[in-house]
């Protein structure tokens, strides 16, 4: 099976690296430096998405947004110019499910199957090859390309035949992660103002039904002075906007999601477009006027002042 991979950014690059040496691999990215790094490892550089598609049986995409996917698929020298009946396109972008479903319908007319297989997990898990891949779409195409996905990570899930379910699942996951993350940080900031040590709160939270991904990963990292996430805050805001949009389309109230979105937007507005998700720790600290480590600034009862 000849594989083509388009989108060698931080996440796409980490995923595509697992395919080197396991499949004949051609790559395409606007960033020439990223392409050169893959060529040095044995991949072939394609001049255009169309050329990559012509030389591949399976084309994988990992791009920032659904609008980028549309451009790469249907733009000048796009993937569709190199596709033929029987080929398979796997979209690993954190895209909009309805738009991805629309791309799949368009490609189906030319006998090409497109399904979504976004990933969920920290960059470290992408590099380690343990990230979760959440696929959805026609079962036959999924089974045929499963060895490719499993070369990226053995943790592959299939969430139904409807294209876009994988991206919906990822969106639900993002929303759950962000909401729990911000709730945990806010409440722990309150505990700090009372005078409780972070390490002790972390132990208490993780011993009980309060535990979550943040309490097990980010809180210990803060206490040890380590970084626990590596993700652009602007992309996180985009993901959460997408979740709120999905909720609104289906008339599902998400008051907590709305508050989480607002907090992230406050962070992005105050820190700037180059901010990292990790910097939300400082935003929560400043909003509570406290610190997670060391002696909290205000341990006194504020009402008593």
């Amino acid at each position: 099976m000849r594989i083509g991979y388009i989108g060698l950014g931080a996440m796409g690059g980490a995923l595509a690296r697992h395919l080197i040496g396991k499949f004949p691999l051609s790559v395409f990215d606007l960033n020439e430096k990223a392409v050169r790094a893959f060529v040095e490892l044995g991949a072939t550089a394609a001049a255009t998405p169309a050329e990559l598609a012509r030389d591949s049986d399976v084309v994988l995409l990992c791009l920032p947004r659904s609008s980028d996917v549309q451009a790469v698929l249907f733009g000048a020298n796009g993937v569709v110019d190199g596709l033929a009946a029987g080929k398979i396109v796997i979209d690993q972008t954190s895209g909009v499910p309805a738009e991805t479903n629309g791309f799949a319908r368009q490609l189906k007319e030319m006998g090409v199957t497109l399904f979504d297989a976004p990933v969920s997990g920290a960059m470290a898990t992408a590099i380690a090859g343990t990230i979760s891949i959440i696929a959805s779409g026609p079962h036959d195409a999924f089974q045929k390309t499963l060895p490719v996905l499993q070369a990226i990570s053995p943790n592959v899930f299939h969430c139904g035949e409807r294209v876009g379910n994988g991206q919906t699942m990822k969106t639900v996951n993002n929303m759950m992660n962000v909401s729990c993350r911000l709730a945990t940080l806010e409440v722990v900031a309150m505990g700090r103002k009372f005078g409780l040590p972070l390490e002790l709160m972390t132990e208490a939270i993780n011993a009980t039904t309060a535990r979550n991904y943040t309490s097990q990963g980010m809180l210990p990292a803060i206490a040890e002075g380590r970084q626990s996430t590596k993700f652009w805050l602007a992309l996180q805001v985009k993901d959460i906007h997408q979740a709120i949009g999905l909720a609104a389309e289906q008339k599902v109230p998400m008051p907590i999601g709305g508050a989480a979105r607002s907090l992230l937007q406050i962070g992005l507005n105050s820190l700037g477009k180059d901010a990292q998700l990790e910097q939300m720790i400082g935003v929560i600290e400043s909003m509570a006027d406290t610190t997670f480590v060391g002696r909290p600034k205000n341990v006194a009862n504020q009402e008593a002042k």
């Binding site: 920290a122 969430c159 139904g160 409807r162 909401s179 005078g195 309060a210 991904y213 509570a288």
Partner: protein, 289 residues
């Protein structure tokens, strides 16, 4: 053998009494007359009698007024040396009370139990101890007979503060799980798929790990009530306001739980919160996913 005098009422108090009666001599004063009867424990009618014949007094009630009445009058405690408050008090008030009690020679410590399910006490429950470490050494066997996980949190009041932190985040986990799962279900995902994928991804939390599989199987995860959960969040919100700590999400969760308590009743099991999201998101009722 140490004799423990338990004063209180409610489901948690009944659980505590049953647990202690297996290994200790237990005397009970039921502040609401009825819920604390237990084989192997002696029921007393008079709180002064309870104190006179007990080595350690343990207050355990989810009724704030009963707890305050017991702690507001120390006459019945003459001769007592250690009082363990397992209810959920305000941490600052607990600090002040502990000092007042210390002045008359009584060690008042706070040791609230956080649990959503007393039937699975060893899995995700803990007692948070606030008070003298020396007193903890003395009462630890009593507390460990109730719950194997006991965490020392610092001076008096710290146990109550820690439980509010834990209760608030636990409630956020649960409410966030319902909200996000409702969005996923309305967009075509099955609860079973969400239970599988989310719990192996960064969306994992204690509630998603228990609630989603239970929803898919029409099962139960808890025996705590919506009213008690809402009460914890009100106290956490009050503490946050007092210390100028904004908690946007926990405040929404507090409001959500208050609204739920009004809609389905404060005695409703917290698993019944799923009904709220099913109705509000226009989903089919549990069991039909």
């Amino acid at each position: 053998m140490i004799t423990i005098g338990v004063a209180g009422s409610g489901n948690v108090a009944a659980f505590v009494t049953r647990a202690l009666a297996k290994t200790h001599s237990v005397r009970i004063f039921d502040t609401e007359n009825g819920s604390l009867q237990c084989d192997g424990a002696t029921l007393v009618d008079d709180v002064t009698d309870l104190a006179k014949n007990a080595d350690v007094i343990l207050l355990c009630t989810d009724a704030d007024d009963a707890r305050q009445a017991l702690l507001g009058n120390t006459d019945w405690l003459k001769g007592s040396s250690v009082i363990i408050d397992m209810g959920q008090g305000d941490p600052d008030t607990s600090r002040l009370l502990a000092k007042d009690f210390s002045d008359i020679g009584i060690a008042l410590v706070d040791a609230p139990l956080h649990t959503e399910n007393t039937d699975a006490i060893a899995e995700a429950s803990a007692i948070f101890f606030g008070g003298s470490a020396v007193v903890l050494d003395y009462v630890r066997p009593i507390l460990e007979a109730i719950c194997p996980k006991v965490i020392y949190c610092g001076d008096a009041g710290s146990g109550h503060a820690m439980r509010l932190v834990v209760a608030a985040i636990a409630a956020c986990n649960r409410v966030i799980t319902y909200e996000c799962a409702a969005m996923g279900a309305k967009n075509g995902l099955t609860i079973a798929d969400m239970a599988t994928v989310l719990n192996k991804s960064s969306g994992y939390n204690s509630a998603s790990a228990r609630v989603l599989p239970a929803l898919a199987a029409n099962g139960r995860t808890a025996n705590a009530t919506v009213g008690n959960c809402a009460n914890d969040l009100r106290k956490a919100s009050a503490l946050g306001m007092r210390y100028a700590a904004p908690m946007l999400i926990a405040t929404i969760v507090r409001s959500t739980l208050d609204a739920a308590s009004n809609r389905i009743g404060e005695m409703a099991n917290i698993d019944e919160l799923a009904k709220i999201w099913e109705i509000d998101a226009g989903l089919p009722a549990s069991g039909s996913h």
